[in-house]
Point group: C2
Chain length 254, copies 2
DNA sequence: CGGACGCTTTCGGTCAGACCAAAACGAGTG
DNA sequence: CACTCGTTTTGGTCTGACCGAAAGCGTCCG
C-alpha cells in the first residue's frame, strides 16, 4: 500500500492541504479495517511520525483530532487507546459544546423540555409496544426505586434507572445514549436539588402511575403521568438557578 | 456498566494539569464575558503565546480544542474566528463522530428510526398545539412542495422545508437543530435515492395528509400519516445501501 | 483620483531537536 | 511471589526556525 509520506491526491484543492488530514484518514481506515482493534493501543507518536514521514507536531494534531471525534481515547500522559465509537461516545463528544449552552437558564430549560418531549413519546411507545420483559424490567426498577425511598442518594440512582428502562424499550441504541447524555448534562443541577424521603415518595408514586398506565396500555394516561412527573420535577430543579440570572437568553443559533 | 473511560472529554484534572487547559479556560471566559465577541478574530498565536507566557505548541493545542468544541472557527490558514455556539453548532460537532456510525446499514436505520420516532411525536404535538401561524407556515410549505413536483431537486428542498416547519412548532431551538443534523447526516443516502415526479407526487400527497390531520386536530391520524410517509420513504432509501454489509459494528454503546 | 498590480510583512502550518516528568518495564531483593 | 527501585519509553512542553499563503501597503497605470 502506501508507506508513502504524502499522497495528496485529491479534494484538498481549496487552499487547504492539512498534512494531519492524511494521517487522520490513514489511522481512521486502519481502525475501521480492524487493523487497529477496539481497545488496542495506538502506536507511539515517534513511531507514527516515522511511519508517515511527518513531524511529531502533525502526529499530535492528528491524534488530537481523532480523539475529539471519539475514535481514540487519549487520556493525559497515557498511551492513546483505539475506540470503536458508539452512540454515547458520539453524544459525550457533544458534551463540551453543550456545556456552553447550559449557562443561561433558557439553555437548561430547552434541553429539559426536549427531554420531556422525548420521554413523553417514549412512554406512549411503551404503553403501545412494551413487551412482557419490558414490563418486568419496569416493575423491577420501580421496586428498587421504592426500596430506596429512605436514601436520597440511592433514590436518585434508581430514579435514573427507571427512566432508563423507558429508553431501552424501543431497542434502538440511540435512545439509551440520549438518556445517558441527558442525565449527564442535567445532573449538576439535578444533584443540587433538595431531596427528602417525602419528595422521593412522591416521585416514586409518579413512577408507579406511569408504569400502571403502561401496563394498562393507555398511552394518553401514560404520557399525562409523565408530563405531570417531569413538570413537577422541573419546578424543583429550576430553584437551583433562580439567581439574579442576567437575562442573557441566547439559546438560538444561525 | 463501567462509567470510567470517557466522561466529559476533558476531566483530566487528575494527576497533571494540561497547560493548554488554562489557556482554553482563559479564552473561554474571554468569550463568554463578551471581551471576545462573536465573529471577532482571535489574537494571533504569537500574541497569545506572549500573553499567556507559553509556547506556541500549547497555544495551538488550546485553539484546536476550542475549535473542536465549536467555540471558535479555525479554517485552515485563516485567522480563527470566535463563535458563540448554538444548538446546531453542537450537533454539527457530533457529525464527525456520527459519520462512523453510518457505515453499516444498521447505523443509518437506527438514526432514521430515531428521526421517525421524533417526528411522529412532533406531528402529534403539531396536531395538538399548532397555532394559526404554524398552520399557515405548513400550508405555505405544502404549496411550495406541490409546485416543485416536476423538479425533483427543488422538490427535495421543499420536502425538507416542510418537515422543518414541524420542528419549529414546539418553539424549542433544539428541534430545528436536530432537524438540520438529521437531514445533513442522512442526506448522502437520501440524495442517492431515485426520484421522479410520480414519487414526488406521492410524497406530496403524504405531506398533505399529514397537514390535514394536523388541521383537524387529530394527533393519531397525523402520526399515522407520518409513519406511513416515512416508512414508505425508508423502503426507497434502503435500496441505496443494500450492499454486502459487513456484519460487525452493529451498535456497541459502551 | 481610483483601481490594478506587485512587494513586504504578518501569521498559520510544519519541521527539527531537545528536555522533563510520569508511565511502563524489568531487574534485583526480601 | 510480591514488592521495591532504577532504567527505558513515551507523552507533554519548549525553542527556534522556515515556508507559503493572506493581508497590508505602496506604486503605477488608466
Amino acid at each position: 500500500m502506501l508507506d508513502e509520506p504524502h499522497a495528496p491526491a485529491q479534494t484538498i484543492s481549496r487552499s487547504t492541504a492539512r498534512t494531519a488530514d492524511a494521517v487522520v484518514k490513514g489511522i481512521e481506515s486502519r481502525i475501521s479495517s480492524g487493523e487497529l482493534a477496539d481497545g488496542a493501543f495506538l502506536p507511539a507518536e515517534r513511531e507514527l511520525m516515522a511511519e508517515y514521514g511527518i513531524s511529531r507536531t502533525v502526529v499530535r494534531e492528528a491524534i488530537a483530532r481523532l480523539a475529539s471525534r471519539g475514535l481514540i481515547e487519549a487520556r493525559h500522559r497515557y498511551r492513546p487507546i483505539v475506540r470503536q465509537p458508539g452512540y454515547d461516545a458520539a453524544l459525550s463528544a457533544v458534551g463540551g459544546v453543550v456545556s456552553h449552552l447550559l449557562n443561561g437558564s433558557s439553555g437548561i430549560k430547552n434541553l429539559y423540555d426536549t427531554r420531556v418531549f422525548l420521554e413523553a413519546a417514549l412512554v406512549r411507545n411503551a404503553a403501545l409496544h412494551a413487551r412482557k420483559d419490558d414490563i418486568a424490567s419496569l416493575r423491577a426498577a420501580l421496586a428498587a426505586n421504592e426500596a430506596a425511598i429512605p436514601d436520597s442518594r440511592l433514590f436518585y440512582a434508581t430514579d435514573v434507572a427507571f427512566h432508563a428502562v423507558l429508553y431501552e424499550i424501543p431497542r434502538n441504541p440511540v435512545f439509551p445514549a440520549l438518556h445517558k447524555a441527558f442525565t449527564l448534562w442535567l445532573a449538576p443541577h439535578w444533584e443540587r436539588m433538595l431531596r427528602s424521603p417525602e419528595r422521593n415518595r412522591i416521585n416514586h408514586l409518579s413512577h408507579r402511575a406511569i408504569l400502571e398506565a403502561i401496563v394498562e396500555r393507555d398511552p394518553d394516561a401514560a404520557e399525562q403521568a409523565l408530563q405531570n412527573h417531569l413538570g413537577a420535577a422541573w419546578e424543583y430543579v429550576r430553584g437551583t438557578f433562580e439567581e439574579p440570572l442576567s437575562d442573557r437568553a441566547e439559546s438560538n443559533d444561525g
